[in-house]
């Protein structure tokens, strides 16, 4: 059984930074329908770990939905939240947050509601700066890629009651905001309020999360050579710096492979000639690692 902890209406033009403990659910619900919300989140104990559209897009595609996770940026790469519910099925991780500059440069506004500035104003409650705002998980936002590879935003069809539920998998600062775009299709040319609720998850909610494997490469500050967060804005070279790039120098070894007639024929059939021409070694290397990628013979 879920327990309601907090409930309020997020008014047009605003956002709110909310502390969510591990095991709590943020529910964002349409009141009138048709409203896009942007969403940022940070590890509450280390704001340098934050939600990353790119990592999430890589794992779940451009429209994350129920059953997907929100991942933090490399080098952390941990699951921060889990999408428990998504009734509209129209979320986006391609488009950046809209900004004041967008509305000035395209529409000529001196001032206009925009997700960058709304996020910054909400995050200021926790001492974060406008530079700490990151690209959003765009909820209730219909996007796609056309036949020419160009991304687009179109009108949306969310209805009153449509909702997205995000379960915190760690303590987070969760920051939803009402998207400021009322002169674009994003929210069907309007700005409307949305309902926000925080629940303590039920056992059933928690049981819905698929098991997550831990990896050595999900790095923490303990792994960093530089652990302190910079306080100076101006960059200056460290005179003691000596590069320590991993696995360098990269060195190639020539390995001769004797192929029998059948294998030669196979290579002839499978070689990507348009890519490698008559360079059989490169074509064979492509085949070997393509096979590995496709079959993952070891875990």
């Amino acid at each position: 059984m879920r327990t309601l902890i907090k409930e309020f209406v997020l008014e047009p033009g605003t956002g709110k930074a909310l502390e969510l403990r591990k095991g709590q659910i943020l529910r964002l619900e349409q009141i009138e329908g048709g409203q896009c919300l942007d969403f940022n989140c940070f590890n509450l104990d280390d704001y340098k770990e934050f939600f990353h559209c790119g990592r999430t897009r890589t794992l779940h595609g451009i429209h994350p939905t129920r059953g997907d996770f929100l991942w933090s940026a490399p080098p952390r790469e941990r699951a921060m939240m889990y999408i428990l519910a998504d009734t509209a099925g129209a979320n986006d991780v391609m488009f950046p947050r809209c900004s004041a500059n967008l509305y000035e440069s395209v529409y000529g506004y001196d001032a206009h509601t925009n997700c960058q500035d709304i996020q910054a104003e909400a995050q200021r409650e926790y001492g974060l700066t406008p530079d700490d705002v990151h690209d959003s998980f765009n909820l209730f936002m219909c996007t796609g890629v056309d036949e020419n590879g160009r991304t687009y935003i179109t009108r949306q069809a969310s209805k009153p009651g449509d909702h997205v539920e995000l379960l915190a998998l760690m303590d987070v600062l969760a920051v939803p905001n009402i998207c400021g775009a009322d002169v674009m299709r994003t929210s069907n040319f309007a700005i409307r309020p949305a309902k926000v609720q925080i629940f303590a998850a039920s056992e059933e909610d928690l049981a819905a999360v698929p098991p997550l494997r831990s990896w050595r490469t999900q790095r923490t500050v303990a792994d960093f050579k530089v652990k302190a967060i910079r306080t100076e804005r101006k960059l200056a070279r460290d005179p003691d710096y000596r590069p320590e790039f991993v696995n360098t120098p990269i060195a190639y070894e020539a390995i001769e492979i004797a192929l029998d007639a059948e294998e030669q024929a196979l290579l002839g059939r499978l070689a990507r000639r348009e890519q490698y021409g008559d360079r059989d070694g490169e074509a064979l290397r492509d085949i070997v690692f393509s096979w590995w990628e496709e079959t993952r013979p070891i875990g």
Partner: protein, 49 residues
């Protein structure tokens, strides 16, 4: 049966992946693994018809 030699250039990271695959018992050695990969890839992408 006539054999042809193909020279493949692998860096240390690529060799590491192949060697770990060998160590897991997929093939007896690196060269055998490369030949196995070629054959298996051919089976995966067999021509239709």
């Amino acid at each position: 049966m006539a054999e042809t030699t193909v020279t493949i250039h692998l860096n240390q990271q690529q060799k590491d992946l192949l060697d770990r695959t060998v160590a897991a018992g997929v093939a007896p050695d690196r060269i055998a693994l490369i030949r196995l990969a070629l054959r298996r890839y051919g089976e995966l992408h067999a021509e239709k018809g």
